[in-house]
């Protein structure tokens, strides 16, 4: 996947700057826009409307450009903040409004979604159109791109999927941000569970836009597994068909970020309380048991096995074995899917992710790491925080043979690649 890497021009034309600031100021959500931008620049959450009014939007835009030199950084930063807020659904829309406007200030050396061609969009649009829930999918996509809850059947039919797919893809630079946007919106809807399932499906179908080099057969496989509900297998298999990154992609300056687990373990009493306040402890244990051992089946045998596992032990192991939040997320969601009442368990998975997220830090990829096309798909690298001596893994590129990979069956592609990089690094530092 070639991520759009957009570079800010040395001096963004001042007229364009003030135009963007004006647009933001005249937005109906100008106050929230300011709050979010202010937080992105200062890490302070300002609630005082007087002080907010005093804040100069033009200055904020300039500071934001300085903080996020590329459009991807802007997107991941703004979406990251929106996702961490209480009113994440509302702020996801605010985030989109900001990104839409400010994105004009980035000189696009490679337009957003450049990797994804018209054919890719068409393929995705076609899959969506054939979905039995295509109307609901459309509603969700319209909500994501236009902030309108469209229920009129005629208008829904008149809007082609192709445009919606492109718009939503433009707004979300990574599969993670797409997921965050759709999940947050689904949560606000009355048929939350249905729409969460739809959001998940849409994310899956959109994968091909992020993994643009996925060959046609691979896309077909993805389609097949959609119906079978085995996501990981297909993604894992398709990783073999990914070509080496092009020179062009390598040359572009990228700063991928990832949520990486902190070294210090949390206070498990605090963690347990926060989880127990929002999820059924038994279901949490069932989900974690499924993730770590085997699919839990109600009955005397598994009941007694579950009683041999204490919740905080399970949480400790979970944290210790998942260095990347994205890996944790995919494993939890996959475990949830494998259980009966998967909707209930998907909610539990979300509670766990929310509670565990503070123990992961959003860190940039250290300079010199290979910014290969495929890992850029989710902006993920596996660099353990504080890993000694981030050496030049470029020199060892290609050493990570598939057989050397750990035997994980439910990995998303990017995590496999991340493991490789991590192993390369570990290898490199141990040779030093």
């Amino acid at each position: 996947m070639v991520l759009a890497t957009s570079v800010i021009p040395p001096i963004a034309a001042s007229s364009l700057l003030s135009e963007v600031a004006k647009e933001l100021a005249s937005d109906q959500n100008a106050l929230r826009i300011k709050k979010l931008m202010l937080f992105a620049c200062t890490q302070k959450w300002e609630n005082d409307s007087h002080r907010l009014q005093e804040v100069n939007l033009l200055e904020l835009v300039k500071r934001l450009l300085a903080i996020a030199p590329t459009l991807e950084q802007l997107q991941s930063r703004i979406h990251g903040i929106a996702n961490s807020l209480n009113k994440s659904a509302e702020y996801t829309l605010i985030a989109n409004a900001i990104i839409n406007r400010v994105s004009r200030l980035y000189l696009e050396t490679c337009p957003v979604g450049a990797g994804a061609g018209a054919k890719d969009y068409e393929a995705v649009a076609q899959i969506l159109a054939c979905d039995p829930d295509h109307l609901r999918i459309k509603k969700l996509l319209i909500l994501a791109s236009k902030n309108i809850w469209e229920t009129d059947a005629n208008r829904l039919n008149s809007l082609p999927f192709l445009d919606l797919v492109q718009e939503v893809h433009d707004l979300t630079p990574t599969p993670e941000s797409l997921k965050a946007v759709l999940d947050n919106l689904a949560k606000t809807l009355s048929k939350k569970t249905e729409y969460e399932a739809i959001a998940e499906r849409v994310c899956l179908i959109f994968q091909s836009l992020y993994f643009i080099n996925l060959s046609a057969p691979a896309l077909e496989m993805l389609d097949i597994t959609l119906t079978e509900g085995i996501l990981e297998a297909s993604l894992g298999a398709s990783s073999e068909s990914l070509p080496e990154p092009s020179c062009e992609a390598m040359a572009q300056p990228q700063q991928p970020y990832a949520y990486i687990r902190q070294q210090a373990l949390p206070d498990f009493f605090d963690l347990r309380v926060s989880i127990m306040q929002s999820a059924n402890p038994m279901r949490v244990k069932i989900l974690l048991f499924t993730l770590m051992h085997e699919v839990f089946t109600p009955g005397a045998e598994h009941d007694s096995l579950l009683k041999n596992h204490e919740l905080d032990d399970l949480l400790q192991i979970l944290l210790q074995t998942h260095k990347l939040l994205s890996d944790l997320e995919s494993k939890l969601l996959s475990a949830a899917r494998s259980l009966q009442e998967s909707d209930e368990y998907a909610q539990v998975a979300q509670v766990l992710l929310r509670s565990l997220k503070p123990f992961y830090t959003y860190l940039p990829l250290k300079a010199g790491l290979p910014t290969s096309a495929d890992e850029g798909a989710t902006n993920i690298v596996s660099v353990e925080a504080g890993l000694p001596g981030t050496t030049e893994p470029n020199s060892q590129k290609g050493d990570g043979s598939p057989s050397a990979r750990p035997d994980h069956t439910c990995q998303v592609l990017t995590f496999e690649r991340a493991i490789e990089i991590s192993e390369l690094q570990a290898g490199a530092s141990s040779h030093d």
Binding site: R272, V273, M276, Q277, N280, P281, M282, D303, E310
Partner: protein, 331 residues
């Protein structure tokens, strides 16, 4: 006697009251019975795994040997319910009223009991491993009305801020539990195992901790005035800034303990073992130290005014800057 289907049908039709019904052995796994009234009903050996009984009325219900794993009983009324031998593994009892309920030998592993009312509850022999009892009320109302946790397992339980005034915790397993800021005034913790537990700022005034095991326990700033710690094992304990005035510390094992700035005025430390303990800046005014062992202890700047230490063993002890019993300051 009604069966599960009939109950669900009637509940579905809007009926809420099933008081006094015979529902023994009924299987209502995952059933949604929010707000149901099952007062005084017989639910012996019934199955309610992962069922929703939020705000249910279960006063005096017979729930003996029921399977209630993962049940949601938040804010339910379980006053005087019989839950002997019930399986409440991972159950939600947040804010539930369990006053005078009988939970003898119940399994509450990893259960949520946040803010539950457990006054006069019988939890003897119950398994509360990993349970969260934050803010729970187990306070003794009068001598005859107190929570009974005799022989219970509270390993790694979260009891932060819980009120356990006068509770019977004799011989309870509290290893690795967190009792920070909890109130255990006058509680009976005799023979209890508190190894590796956290008791930061915990109130243990007048508590009975005789023969209790507190190895490696964190008791920083704990309040232990007049507590009885006779023969308790407090090796390597952290009692920094703790108050132990008038406490009974006879034959207590305090080897390698950290008692920096601790206040031990008038405490009875006769025959106590304080080998290698740190008592820097500690207050030991009028302490009774007959045959106490201070070998290699650090008493730098400690105040020992009027302490009775004529028979104490001070071999290798550091007394620099300490105020001695006669008021002299050790150079």
């Amino acid at each position: 006697m009604i069966n599960a289907n009939e109950l669900l049908k009637r509940y579905g039709a809007g009926e809420l009251s099933f008081c006094g019904e015979n529902l023994t052995g009924v299987n209502l796994t995952r059933a949604d019975l929010i707000g149901i009234d099952l007062q005084e009903s017989d639910l012996h050996s019934a199955v309610f795994v992962l069922a929703y009984l939020n705000r249910a009325k279960l006063t005096k219900a017979n729930l003996m040997a029921t399977r209630l794993g993962g049940i949601n009983l938040s804010q339910a009324n379980l006053v005087r319910a019989n839950l002997r031998d019930a399986d409440l593994h991972g159950a939600i009892l947040q804010g539930a009223d369990l006053r005078s309920a009988d939970l003898t030998l119940a399994n509450l592993l990893d259960a949520n009991l946040i803010d539950a009312d457990l006054r006069n509850t019988n939890l003897s022999g119950a398994n509360l491993t990993g349970a969260c009892l934050r803010g729970a009320n187990l306070r003794e109302e009068n001598r005859k009305y107190s929570a009974n946790l005799r022989g219970a397992t509270l390993r790694k339980a979260d009891l932060r801020g819980a009120n356990l005034t006068g509770a019977d915790l004799a011989r309870v397993d509290l290893r690795g539990a967190n009792l920070s800021e909890a109130t255990l005034r006058g509680a009976d913790l005799s023979g209890a195992d508190l190894t590796e537990a956290t008791l930061k700022g915990t109130t243990l005034t007048e508590a009975n901790l005789a023969r209790a095991v507190l190895r490696g326990t964190n008791l920083m700033n704990a309040k232990l005035e007049r507590a009885d710690l006779t023969e308790a094992d407090l090796a390597s304990v952290n009692l920094q800034g703790a108050t132990l005035a008038d406490a009974k510390l006879i034959r207590v094992h305090l080897a390698k303990a950290n008692l920096t700035r601790a206040r031990l005025n008038r405490a009875d430390l006769s025959r106590a073992n304080l080998w290698g303990a740190s008592l820097r800046d500690a207050h030991l005014i009028e302490t009774y130290l007959a045959r106490a062992n201070f070998t290699n202890a650090d008493l730098t700047n400690a105040n020992l005014v009027r302490a009775e230490m004529s028979s104490a063993n001070l071999t290798g002890a550091i007394l620099t800057g300490a105020t001695l019993p006669d008021g002299r300051i050790q150079p």
